[in-house]
């Protein structure tokens, strides 16, 4: 540590920090834009600005990763920019692009999910005639040639609209950027205090985002309260863990904790109590196993684009942090605590799978599936080997894109005023909209882990790493759970393809260009990582954590 961290303390390595600085700086500018811009122009400016920030930050990550610059610890040792960290940053920023697009989309429901005043909008549309509303929200039943129809449909709706376009909560853009900045810091944090601050920076905007939907206000706010209270509860555990580890090691630097643990100095009670509490907080964020209770409620209640952002990005950030903590701080004592986490991983897989079967709402089903997947990912985390690290990183990338695509598709299937969350709404979807049904089936097969999808490659990477590290029972449980979980993914496919649609069943919205791009991106990456995963696997295995 010594000399290097001192030199870093004097001069900040801006090259290494660039992506983080860009995102957090962009978030601050975004807040200013919110204050300065006139209302009518906020949405377009904020959207373009946020996308630009994310893309530039992504470019900075790619430049950094390809430049061959070595791993460094920056800001007096509080952040570590190393190869896995860069991969996590790249993943987060890449996932943020479709998330931002979906958040900003206004084509799927009139005015977008975050419309400021749905009643006023509905009245305005009432005035110009019911026709425009219908053509916007229900669209044409055929899914072929989605793009052209979609444009026509929306133009028909937009033509006679009132002069002021519907307002939306443009605060979501700075929120997303702050959350993203927090996630970047969280996955690169090299000491526990930074990790805690980053955890709050990423969580607080997410709590608010959950509660911002105006149409299903009660559900949305209920989700926000639940998420907030349980999230704050979990951060308190995390923090107490930090305090105990500080008491144990005299420092919150991950590498120092590892060094203390290697020496015979203090009682291990503090070390393991601290680890346990720390892990509770982290597992909560990653929605693992018995700490998943918020997941289904929040996934279902939050606006779907927020769910997509949260499901994909939070998981990446949280598991990034888990990987780093396990590897850097507790790698030397792995044998002593791993048994407990075996139980957690098994619990997570079993809970996610078994409860997933009983679900009748697709978003809740995705939530339970995410709990099961968290268990699979945990297998990779527990194998503290290079193969486990690269497998986990790859899994996070693959899972994130698949989830975003699924939730994007879910947001398209609508009945009446909102999304048709209930599974029965998906009956005969293939006849109403073959493209949406095919894309959804593909993504569900990816979650089930059928070969030639990213889900299989990821599962293979994680399971082989687990088995190589002597975790055969975990791998077997994982395989059995995969098989059981296949049942409920398949049930949706069966409904979509082999059932007859209900006459008054839900309609399929025609996505605007932004949602279309987001979904296409998700599906394309899912396919690409299944067929040609080499490049991603190589980047994921490019290096190890720097302590």
């Amino acid at each position: 540590m010594g000399s290097q961290s001192f030199s870093d303390a004097l001069g900040v390595d801006y090259g290494a920090l660039a992506p983080l600085l860009i995102v957090l700086g962009g978030a601050c500018v975004s807040v200013l834009l919110e204050a300065v811009l006139p209302r009518v122009r906020r949405r377009s400016v904020q959207l373009v600005f946020s996308l630009a920030v994310v893309v530039v930050a992504l470019a900075a990550v790619i430049i950094r990763a390809t430049s061959g610059a070595g791993d460094v610890v920056v800001l007096a040792g509080s952040l570590s920019v190393d190869a896995p960290g860069l991969f996590l940053w790249g993943t987060l920023l890449a996932l943020a692009v479709p998330s931002v697009l979906m958040l900003a989309d206004r084509s799927v429901e009139p005015g977008g999910v975050f419309v400021a005043d749905p009643e006023a909008l509905a009245e305005a549309q009432e005035r110009v005639g019911a026709g425009s509303l219908r053509s916007t929200s229900s669209g044409l039943p055929s899914g072929t040639g989605t793009d052209t129809h979609g444009v026509v449909g929306r133009r028909g709706g937009a033509g006679p609209e009132p002069t002021t376009p519907p307002e939306m909560h443009t605060e979501i853009f700075p929120f997303v950027l702050f959350a993203l900045g927090g996630m970047l810091a969280f996955s690169a944090a090299n000491d526990l205090l930074t990790m805690f601050v980053a955890l709050e920076v990423l969580s607080l905007p997410l709590y608010l985002l959950c509660g911002l939907a105006r149409r299903r206000r009660l559900l949305s706010q209920e989700a926000a309260v639940k998420y907030f209270l349980l999230g704050a509860f979990a951060s308190a555990f995390f923090l107490y863990g930090v305090a105990l580890l500080y008491g144990y090691a005299g420092s919150v630097r991950l590498a120092d904790i590892a060094a203390s643990a290697a020496g015979p100095l203090r009682s291990d009670a503090l070390l393991f109590a601290g680890l346990a509490l720390l892990v509770v907080g982290l597992m909560f964020k990653a929605s693992v196993g018995p700490f998943h209770t918020w997941t289904p409620d929040v996934y279902q209640g939050a606006p779907t684009p927020v769910t997509a952002f949260m499901a994909a990005c939070t998981k990446v950030a949280a598991f990034g942090a888990i990987l780093r903590v396990f590897t850097v701080a507790f790698g030397t004592t792995a044998l002593e605590w791993r048994g407990v986490l075996w139980a957690v991983a098994i619990a997570s897989m079993v809970i996610g799978t078994v409860l997933g079967i009983t679900q009748t709402d697709l978003k809740r089903m995705v939530a339970y599936s995410s709990v099961a997947h968290a268990g699979f990912i945990l297998i990779g985390c527990l194998a503290i080997t290079p193969a486990g690290l690269s497998g986990t990183l790859f899994y996070l990338l693959a899972y994130g894109f698949t989830t975003i695509a699924i939730l994007g598709l879910v947001s398209l299937v609508r009945s009446g005023d909102g999304e048709a969350g209930h599974l029965s709404g998906y009956a005969g979807l293939a006849q109403r909209s073959p493209v949406v049904a095919a894309a959804l089936s593909f993504c569900l097969l990816a979650l089930a882990g059928v070969p030639l999808t990213s889900g299989f490659t990821a599962k293979f990477a994680v399971f082989s790493a687990g088995l190589a590290d002597g975790m055969a029972p975990l791998v077997i449980v994982g395989l059995v759970c995969s098989a059981i979980a296949a049942f409920f993914y398949l049930r949706v496919i069966v409904l979509m393809y082999f059932s007859d649609p209900a006459p008054d069943g839900p309609t399929v919205s025609l996505p605007g260009p932004m949602t279309t791009v987001a979904i296409t991106l998700g599906v394309a990456v899912t396919l690409l990582l299944g067929v040609l995963p080499t490049a991603a696997l190589e980047w994921a295995g490019a290096g190890t954590f720097l302590g």
Binding site: L193, F196, V197, E200, L204, Y207, L208, G211, R217, L218, L219, Q221, E222, A223, A224, V225, K226, F228, L229, A232, F233, S235, A236, F237, L239, Y240, V242, A243, L244, Y246, G247, G250, S251, V252, P296, D297, Q300, G301, T358, Q359, R364
Partner: protein
């Protein structure tokens, strides 16, 4: 007085906070219990700082206070919003999202 006693007090406060979160119904009270937990941690941090003979723990306590303040802002605003639509702050009444 041995610093260990402060640690015990801290653990006690943390437990009280935990139990409060688990058993209380009112969202505001639940939230206050979370704050109690955070402050219990602060006590630990300061005590460990004393035991370890370094100032890091005390600095961390300041971080925690700032973060807790931010959390209060966000939390109260969410609770206010739900109170306005529902006219209640009981977490038991928030039961639309189930199974």
């Amino acid at each position: 007085m041995s610093p260990t006693n402060y640690l015990l007090l801290s653990a006690l406060l943390f437990s009280i906070g935990t139990v409060g979160v688990l058993v209380r119904r009112n969202a505001i009270v639940v939230f206050m219990c979370v704050e109690l937990m955070l402050n219990a941690v602060n006590l630990s941090l300061v005590t460990f700082s004393r035991i370890n003979g370094s100032l890091d723990g005390q600095v961390m306590a300041f971080f925690v206070m700032v973060v807790a303040a931010a959390e209060v802002v966000v939390g109260l605003s969410i609770i206010m919003a739900i109170f306005r639509t529902r006219r209640t702050a009981s977490v038991d009444d928030a039961n639309l999202l189930k199974y």
